[in-house]
Amino acid sequence: MNVAIGTGGIVLAFVAALCATVTIAYSLVRRRPHRARLMVPYAALVLVGSVVAFGAMERAFIQRDFTIAFVAENGSHRTPLLFETTAIWSGLVGSLLLWGLVLAGYLVVLLWRFRDRLSDPLMGWAVVVMFAVSTFFFGLMLGPASPFVRFAPPLGFEGDGPNPLLQNHPLMAVHPPMLYLGYVGFTVPFAFAIGALITGRVGEGWLVATRRWTLFAWGFLTAGIVLGAWWSYEVLGWAGYWAWDPVENASFLPWLTGTAYLHSVMIQERRGMLRVWNIALLCATFALTILGTFLTRSGVIESVHAFSEGSIGPILLGFFAAVVLLSVGLIGWRGDRLRSPGSIDSPLSREGAFLLNNVLFAAFAFVVLLGTVFPLVVEALRDRRVSVGPQYFNRMTTPIGFVLLFLMAIAPVLPWRKASAELLSQRLLWPAWAAVAAASTAALLGARGLEPMLAFTLGGFAAGAALRQVILATRRQGLRGLLGRANGGMIVHLGVVFIAVGLAASGSYLRDDEFSLAEGESASMAGHTVTYLGLSVVEHPEKQSYVAAVQVDDVGVYRPSVNLFRGAGQSVGEPSVRTSWKDDVYLTLEQPLPGVDGVAVIRVIVQPMVSWLWVGGLLMALGTLLAAFPGRRRRAVDAVSAPIVARKDRDRAHVPAEVS
């Protein structure tokens, strides 16, 4: 039943998307704009099909319908309902179902948002691109990555359930959907960029139209990455949140190019510059989401040889190549129209700072991409299995990060066109004091070392600049001063500062040790005392847990455990963390488990300011939300410190003045 319903849903979505792509593209080529109305029913059919397919799979998981191979591989009678429902995105084909659902959702919302402009050719081509991408993904689900492959379960089959690491924390329910909302969300601005290139309307109009879509996609991706780091910290037991592994890099790459775009687009809106660059960034961001999907879903991470064994890898790589070729071809074709009228008057200007910011983000992305694909290239060419460790990434990206922090302090106070030394010294006074205060406080609290001290000082500098802008804006406009791209952006900057400071402190002053403790014994480390109180065994349907009770200081009892999952027969440690704004005490119960002597091996990791990372992520999400709301009506060409104009004056000011 579920197989039939689900397959029917996929067929419906695929056929609707394919028909829409062909029909609408044909009508656009033939200049029959009235046919554009067909977009809406087609999009509705794609959405219905994807909801039906996704719903059928969820139903199959909840019913433990092991006649579907994907459910048999990832479901289990023993798995709790929450993790049974989230198991859908624990494998390739379920992830594709989620991708299709999110894409269909974006398509319908896009058509509703632009319902008055469906006959606009630019809009038409953008929708064709969206339908074409949908056709590709639903086509994958009909062919090599079919989610509804039948399976004949043997008698008494119970299923192993998802990977134990994927059923250990509720964050699994939100982290992957957030990432997909971000990944798939970048399809919208990409589609508009292609539409603008096809129609030749490469001015600033389409940028304004897609600004908020890009912002939301970026916000979701940011939230997804931060939640992923949090999941890693809470589940994996090494007290780390970022390991530069290929899956993390795959999500980070489009984030880097997307962040560059969010800054450079302001230069185009304001100064008419960087048209090619902005279109290229959007195309690169979308292409990198496909490359990320290829890296994480093709088997290439295991080995380039594993990649060639499956059929989805080459198809995804082919789609990636098609996206790149289409983008490059169209940009080349429209080269003349993409020439920008503006140019930089002085490097010491806001556009100068944004340009440097973009160069740095591009360099950052290049470093991560090179490190990620280098082992694949070496293995393909020389049949040598190599690994690029964190040293390469840290060594290359740390200086870039410092310069970006410095720019975060400078750019918000810089005016467009040109800044004088006098103006800069006046506007940077507060931020400079904030930097001095941050450095002094850190030194007084015992911080040592060049890199963390530099991070704290530059963090203070950047936070000072962001706060200055927020305070000035709220003084002028009250709480409305928190809204809009410029002011919301400053909240995002504050979030980034929190994360930078958290990264520097937790990475530089980490303390890590293991203690063999008998019941009642204590050990001290980094100003904390841990006392082992005893071990208990707790039975769950899906696992058996060995839970150690550990008293941390006088704060309370924490319970790190080792869980033996019955289905997979795998034991997985589950850390327990005492969190505070100052530091985290991270406890894990190590193997071997306490025997007759009752001695437990407890690993204790003390890391300062880890919670600042999560607060930073929250601030970034909040800032994104504030940036998406319209703030004070400000033209893209308003002066940086322009006073608020009354509505009447503003309207008068907007009357275009033509030069004859």
């Binding site: 001015g203 139209a209 390991a243 592994d245 008419g272 040598r384 890590d512 002066a639």
Partner: protein, 288 residues
């Protein structure tokens, strides 16, 4: 353009990219570019006034920028009238500088640098290892790795002579130092770093070695390796009584055979016993 107008037609140049108010001998795209440049410069001149009024620009900068915009606007207007190409007009108004070459060279240098570094830092991928990145090993795992390095270094040192074996010894020292940054009082790391420093034979490092061994004993007085290493160091520096005290404690501990063999190699018990009857008596009592 308003917020209700998400896909505005833009200025007169958007849409089909043609303008109606200009001669048509020039390529339409070229002409459209010139007209767009003209409108952009005119808008910039207006914005300049607003920015001066808002205090974003100093009067001096305002003057310089305005002059530049006026020159460029004039060049564009002449270009429209004279049907010159956009690139020619731009070149006449603002000739390009050498910065393109500089930026190109910097990009190339960065790319080559990144390539060299990634090739240098790439290591062999073990079975089950990740393609990139790695999770931080626990102190126990790191100490096991350091011990492998230390054993290899000491074997190499014994085989090739002390002077040739210094580099691997120092590599192992670095490994233990790395552990000590995260676990400053770790007795194993302190003991072995101290012992490896002793084995380098460098006079300059002996004080650090002694300090490490003292710290190791202080951190865990029941750790036999630390006691044994310190006893050897004390013995070699002629402090036999102090060495005897460490041996005395060592005899009450569960000493691994490898440490016992090490003490035998140095003949330390015999030397201490000969030098101090008290110590001999004490150790004999303990043994019996």
């Amino acid at each position: 353009m308003t917020s209700q107008d998400p896909i505005p037609a833009g200025n007169s140049l958007e849409g089909d990219g043609r303008a109606k108010d200009a001669p048509t001998r020039l390529d339409p795209d070229e002409l459209a570019g010139l007209l767009e440049e003209r409108n952009f410069l005119a808008r910039s001149l207006r914005d300049l006034d607003a920015e001066l009024a808002a205090g974003d620009l100093s009067p001096a900068d305002y003057g310089t920028l305005r002059e530049d915009y006026v020159v460029r606007t004039a060049a564009v207007l002449r270009g429209i009238e004279g049907q010159q190409s956009l690139s020619r007009v731009r070149l006449a108004a603002r000739p390009g500088g050498p910065w393109r070459v500089v930026v190109g060279a910097a990009v190339l240098l960065f790319a080559v640098g990144a390539g060299v570094l990634v090739a240098r830092l790439a290591g062999t991928r073990t079975a089950g290892g990740t393609l990139t990145g790695d999770i931080r090993a626990s102190t126990r795992q790191e100490l096991a790795g350091c011990l492998e390095l230390a054993s290899a270094a000491m074997s190499a040192g014994s085989a090739a002579g002390a002077s040739d074996g210094t580099a691997p010894l120092l590599e192992a020292v670095r490994c233990y130092s790395e552990v000590l940054t995260r676990s400053p009082g770790n007795p194993e790391a302190l003991s072995y770093r101290g012992w490896l420093l002793v084995r380098t034979g460098s006079v300059a490092l002996q004080a650090q070695a002694a300090a490490d061994l003292d710290a190791a004993v202080a951190a865990d007085p029941t750790y036999p390796d630390a006691r044994a290493f310190r006893a050897i160091v004390l013995y070699r520096s002629g402090q036999l009584a102090a060495a005897g005290k460490d041996l005395e404690v060592l005899d009450t501990l569960d000493t691994p055979p490898i440490i016992t063999r090490l003490l035998s190699q140095f003949g330390i018990r015999q030397a201490v016993a000969e030098a101090s009857p008290t110590v001999t008596a004490l150790t004999s009592t303990t043994r019996s």
